[in-house]
Amino acid sequence: MSAVPPDPRSVAGQVTDPELPTLTLADLGVLRDVRTEADGAVVVEITPTYSGCPAMGVMRADLLRALHEAGFGDVDVRTVLSPAWTSDWISAEGRRKLAAAGIAPPGSAPVRTDGPVPLQLGPPRRTADCPLCGSPDTEELSEFGSTACKALRRCRSCREPFEHVKEI
């Protein structure tokens, strides 16, 4: 059986997120592009979810290792900052996997405008169904959770706390 050369896109597409290992970087919308240049070099583009995301270095190392192991010798993993990552880029599959892992997926990101960002003095308007029992009756405990991209919520029906990927 002759070996079919692997597609770098599918190799990179299997690499998982270091913080949420049930999701791939592609599911999260962090993997922006994989292409093969004319000289055979593979160029991978990733974007950070938040400016301070400490996992970028691990993602880079994981992508390099996966592609090297698949036989690609010349791999360049590049950071792209623009356009900025938005939670809207999490795929339908990514949302399903988040919910299955007990993490509520984000709703639609706020509409972005060029002008001043309006002050939000009331409680955050976000809602999220409980990923454990499905109840819509949940409350936010904190806008900031165990990682930069998550808030902490609690279900008023089953009383369980859960995490929620913030809309950004």
Binding site: Y50, G52, Q120, L121, I168
Partner: protein, 303 residues
């Protein structure tokens, strides 16, 4: 096929046998693969200095906020403050790396040695008078009320500046700003809700928050006077003239204080931008002593 047990092993192995410099972020260049070419007509020295102004504000405030971890009034608030500090540290890394990419390293490079990344050389190996941060971010917190009032003020100013910077002629700065705007909106609104909760809370929380406002307001005086660098870069479409954000900042802060049942102090009379020019009080030297001490004592340490 070798798979590391933890992400930390993967990270350590990514740096090979030589080990990593012990005190840096160690992850990698936050601008890896980003086109850092400076567009025509922009003075790289001015651009680098401006990035230090914005980056130093973020680095210094991140350090101050981190002092609340283990001391915040609630566990959730520690997590929140840690997250906000991490966002700011991320902005600082990008901005200091941008300054380094245009060659603005000052004397930090000779002190740091050749192997330490630009962002770390700038963070750990500059003296206080080489920092361009404002007094607002360096002031120590006397209590939690002051921490949230200062965060409110600093995040409001920074959000107003970053909103405008999204259209900067420097595409790297514009991208950093566009990313930061969403983070800063979270920071500002979080701080604002705490100010309302405390100001419109008990007699004691109201008294303390009012004192905090009185302590923080004078620190706004230098923020809206542009330096020559900002004036030149604003004219070139690269930077934001801070004088142009003053009314927006005053309006937002007034809204929050109004909801917090707190009197709005008289707006301070503008003063020269001392912090931006490297003129600081002892608070910054104290803070940098904590931040930099170990790295400077063991500049070549690896692990």
């Amino acid at each position: 096929m070798v798979h590391e047990e933890t992400v930390y092993d993967a990270l350590a192995n990514a740096h090979g046998e030589a080990g990593r410099w012990a005190f840096g972020t160690g992850f990698d260049d936050p601008l890896a693969g980003v086109d850092t070419t400076v567009p025509g007509g922009i003075d790289p020295a001015d651009l680098g200095t401006y990035c230090l102004m914005l980056g130093d504000d973020a680095l210094v405030l991140a350090q101050r906020l981190t002092e609340w971890v283990t001391r915040a009034p609630e566990l959730e608030e520690e997590v929140a403050i840690g997250n906000i500090a991490l966002d700011l540290l991320g902005q600082a890394r990008l901005l200091l790396a941008r300054a380094g990419s245009v060659g603005v390293l000052g004397r930090s490079r000779e002190r740091a040695g050749a192997t330490i990344p630009d962002e770390d050389a700038l963070a750990y190996f500059r003296d206080p008078d080489e920092f361009h941060s404002t007094a607002l971010v360096a002031a120590p917190d006397t209590d939690f009320a002051q921490a949230v009032v200062r965060l409110l003020a600093a995040a409001t100013v920074r959000l107003a500046v970053f909103s405008r910077l999204r259209s900067s002629r420097d595409p790297v700065l514009a991208a950093i700003a566009a990313k930061g705007v969403h983070e800063l909106a979270y920071h500002r609104d979080h701080a604002a809700r705490w100010v309302v909760r405390l100001g419109d809370g008990t007699e004691e929380s109201h008294r303390r928050t009012r004192s905090a406002v009185d302590a923080v307001w004078p620190l706004l005086a230098e923020l809206f006077t542009p330096t020559d660098v900002e004036t030149r870069l604003a004219a070139a479409g690269v930077a934001v003239d801070p004088a142009g954000v003053r009314d927006e900042v005053r309006d937002v802060l007034g809204q929050v204080l109004g909801r917090a049942a707190l009197p709005v102090p008289a707006w301070p009379v503008g003063t020269p931008p001392r912090g931006r020019r490297g003129q600081h009080g002892p608070e910054l030297a104290e803070l940098l002593g904590t931040l930099q001490g170990l790295a400077r004592q063991h500049p070549a340490a690896t692990w």
